[in-house]
Amino acid sequence: MEEIKININGRDIVTSADRTIMEAARDHGIEIPNLCYEERLEPYGSCRICLVEVEGARGLLPSCYTRVTEGMVIRTNTDELHRIRKTIIELLLSDHPVDCMTCERAGNCKLQDLAYEYGVKKSPFEGEVHVYDILADNPLIERDYNKCVLCGRCIRICREVQGVGVYDFVNRGFKAVPGTPYGKPLQETPCEFCGQCVSTCPTGAITSIPSKGKGRIWQVEKVRTTCTYCGCGCQIDLHVREGKVVEVSSPVMVGPGEGNLCVKGRYGYGFIDHPDRLTSPLIRKKGKLVEASWEEALDLVARSIRKAVDTSGPDSVAFLTSARCTNEENYLMQKLARAAVGTNNIDHCARL
């Protein structure tokens, strides 16, 4: 792509002609505030928070939507822009329950961050406010449209990325809100429960039910790892609080999944600390599996393998390693079969 020169806030910048103003600015460490923008989605230009001044342009331009052109002179942080952005935030807060103290998204909310940055404590605009019922019509995803800012990100991710299209705006004007066909519960729509809408919602309007009340973003430690389900290898962050995984998210535009997750990747973590987990070695005594010490169990395993080898040869022992375990564990298991026992009877579930 052709390289062009632009100027942002007095800085000369060389960028590629296929970038938007927002992207070119971000590439060079200049953040333009935004609300309806998401890297995984096509630009939308609805929230107007990312407006910038461009010399010679008629009016202000949404930076998420506007491609850079040669010689463009852009300002992203003038007093006028500050005033306009603050007014937009005040308008949004005029119909938003300011219950950040108990909101699931506090600390991870774009609207909260914007209000903080622009010093909006209270909206000067008083008028009608929405009172919607909270929709928890399924076990995973809760929708509280009282907190919706109409950015359309849930609608767009479901359509553009998932290709499912469960949501669209219903009603008009002040009553407009994202909804399902005929207001049906999510379980009666083609919803795949991937929670992508949760992952992109910039406020507390769409949240995950299983992680509700389990810890907010500053209370958890995020550990980056690889998902344990299929072979896609999505990169995930396990949110850990007090030694428990309480939520899973995926870093946007990182790894093969680019921040997208499916229902298992996002919500399939409940097995980790399930009460059914094995917590002690077990040995069969009088036909029943009973708890035993590691010493006793390991000795018995080694003795039994040794017995089979001694009486019937190493090929009377078979090893099944696991497509669920790590490379290192698989390596050690085949080494055990080959080097310690002396058999190539090792396989795993690749064929199943």
């Binding site: 290898g233 019937s312 078979a318 290192e328 310690a340």
Partner: protein, 536 residues
């Protein structure tokens, strides 16, 4: 995969065959959907079931289960007849073409149509779309491999890619999607009876010498060992005395589970290492509590050969220990000391013995994943395989004739059963069926029945029915849906209380020894007749 996920979005045409991508590899499904929606990529789907990708496909070939070789040969017949083959690629990069060409003559679309049930013109259309695209990718999964003709199916796909020069370039390739998080890695690490790590054959004396030296042992066996299905048979016949199973649940995942149970009972000693007391662990003499992915350090290798880090986030419950510690402790008791089994040290050892992993280290993986082959510390990894030559040099065409599935329908068992997974559950369900929200979404097993068949059996959906094969019978709820074609039933295998694999057979592909999960002859029993049949 010969290519990468990124590549799918560079393809002008994608042929998806035997893969319900959006349910089994949802994130790869996103790539395919996006290729269609954003890049105008032509999607060709060859799939007996109506799956979500049908909504994105330009061409849908609804072949009878088990007829893939005929279908692909039919496409290649059209490509040769209409001179759409890439002659330069065939000449420069392949061999065995003439014999292959002769064989293909037996597969005119009209004849193929009779075998597969796909309209001849649709086969022509698909062949033209695939062959005339600038770059065309093939995506497949267990719907291709889990047949007695699994190897033939894959060879036919390789033929198709070579015939049109759709390999070794961006947006092309033959791309299998691996069903479990680390199947690729378990294979790469030599978790197979015939190869050491990096697919170095055990019957090569030089290779053995290298490993004998590195591992400090005098002798490593040179004869390939038994595959999983052969082990089960060996146990059944009393040749295998002791079995050590780490993180597997063959009693639900293997075909003909009654037979597997009997095999397990015949073992003199069975040790199972897992995170739950699985159906298989119930048969064990010793059960060892292991750790799950969130409780350990390590790496997984994804289906595009990308090695990525696994990191410890929480502590294991109770006395559960890391699998590496357990394996090393057993090894020590058998008189073989494995030394340092800390994950990064093991990766160092792997890299030193495995040419395709030679340049991989934890230090490099800290930043991001690396796709093997990565042969040295400064090698960037390999997103696309076979760019200049194939592993064996020239690509070999195989003349692969169509063979029918092991079991065909007859008067006694008039319906075809195919098995698979659902989006919300995973494999034998040991993990996902313990997750309450998932159980609320999909609480129990159902057999999918086409409305036409349902009418014949007087079913409207929601009734209990029995499905019986020559191996066994299960009882479950009927779901009437045209997502399956007439004459075909679908049952997912996640559910222990109505296990699909009580019905499947142990017929294997002669080379890969993979069972034919995708085709079994069954019958449907409804109403009072059900009482006469004993179910699992």
């Amino acid at each position: 995969m010969t290519n990468s996920f990124d590549d799918l979005e560079k393809a002008d045409c994608i042929l998806v065959i035997g893969s319900n991508t959006t349910e089994n590899h949802p994130i790869t499904g996103i790539r395919i959907k996006r290729a269609v929606m954003k890049n105008n990529c032509t999607l060709i789907l060859a799939e007996p079931r109506h799956i979500r990708l049908c909504y994105y496909a330009s061409i849908w070939m609804r072949q009878r289960p088990g007829t893939d070789v005929a279908l692909l040969n039919g496409m290649m017949h059209v490509i040769l007849e209409e001179e759409l083959a890439d002659e330069e690629f065939i000449k420069e990069r392949t061999e065995g073409f003439e014999e292959f060409k002769e064989m293909i003559k037996d597969y005119p679309p009209e004849k193929v149509s009779e075998i597969t049930g796909v309209d001849a013109d649709t086969i022509r259309e698909a062949a033209r779309a695939y062959a005339s695209a600038k770059s065309a990718a093939i995506v497949y999964s267990m719907g291709i491999t889990q047949h007695v003709t699994g190897v033939d199916n894959v060879l036919s796909l390789a033929n198709l890619a070579m015939l049109t020069g759709n390999i070794g370039r961006e947006g092309t390739g033959v791309n299998p999607l691996r069903g479990q998080n680390n199947v690729q890695g378990a294979c790469d690490m030599g978790g197979l009876p015939n190869v050491f790590p990096g697919y170095q054959p055990v019957d090569n004396p030089e290779v053995r010498k290298k490993f004998e030296k590195a591992w400090g042992v005098d002798y490593l066996p040179g004869a390939p060992g038994l595959t999983l299905m052969e082990m089960m048979e060996g146990a059944y016949k009393g040749k295998i005395k002791a079995m050590y199973i780490m993180g597997e649940n063959p009693i639900l995942s293997d075909p003909d589970i009654q037979h597997v149970k009997e095999a397990m009972e015949k073992l003199e000693f069975l040790v199972v290492q897992d995170i739950y007391l699985t159906e298989t662990a119930e048969y064990a003499d010793v059960v060892l509590p292991a750790t799950c992915f969130a409780e350990k350090e390590g790496t997984f290798t994804n289906t595009e050969r990308r090695v990525q880090r696994v990191r410890k986030a929480v502590s294991p419950p109770g006395q559960a220990r890391e699998d590496s510690w357990i394996v090393a402790e057993i090894s020590r008791r058998l008189g073989y000391d494995m030394g340092d089994v800390e994950a990064s040290a093991v990766m160092k050892e792997i890299a030193s013995l495995t040419p395709s992993y030679a340049g991989i280290s934890y230090q490099r993986l800290e930043e991001k994943g690396i796709q093997w082959p990565c042969t040295s510390e400064d090698h960037p990894g390999t997103p696309i395989l076979h760019t200049e030559k194939f592993t064996r040099g020239k690509g070999l065409f195989h003349a692969v004739a169509y063979r029918p599935p092991a079991e065909e329908v007859d008067d006694e068992f008039p319906l075809l059963l195919t098995t698979g997974r659902l989006l919300t559950h995973y494999h034998t369900g040991t993990m996902t069926r313990r997750i309450e929200p998932f159980n609320q979404l999909v609480p129990h097993n159902r057999v999918w029945i086409n409305p036409r068949d349902a009418e014949q059996y007087g079913l409207s959906g929601g009734e209990e029915v029995v499905v019986e094969s020559r191996r066994g019978a299960i009882r479950l709820e009927a779901r009437v849906t045209d997502f399956v074609p007439p004459g075909v039933l679908f049952i997912p295998f996640h559910f222990a209380e109505s296990p699909a694999n009580a019905l499947t057979g142990t017929a294997l592909d002669p080379v890969a020894k993979i069972p034919e999960f995708k085709v079994s002859a069954v019958r449907l029993v409804v109403g009072k007749e059900m009482k006469k049949i004993s179910v699992v």
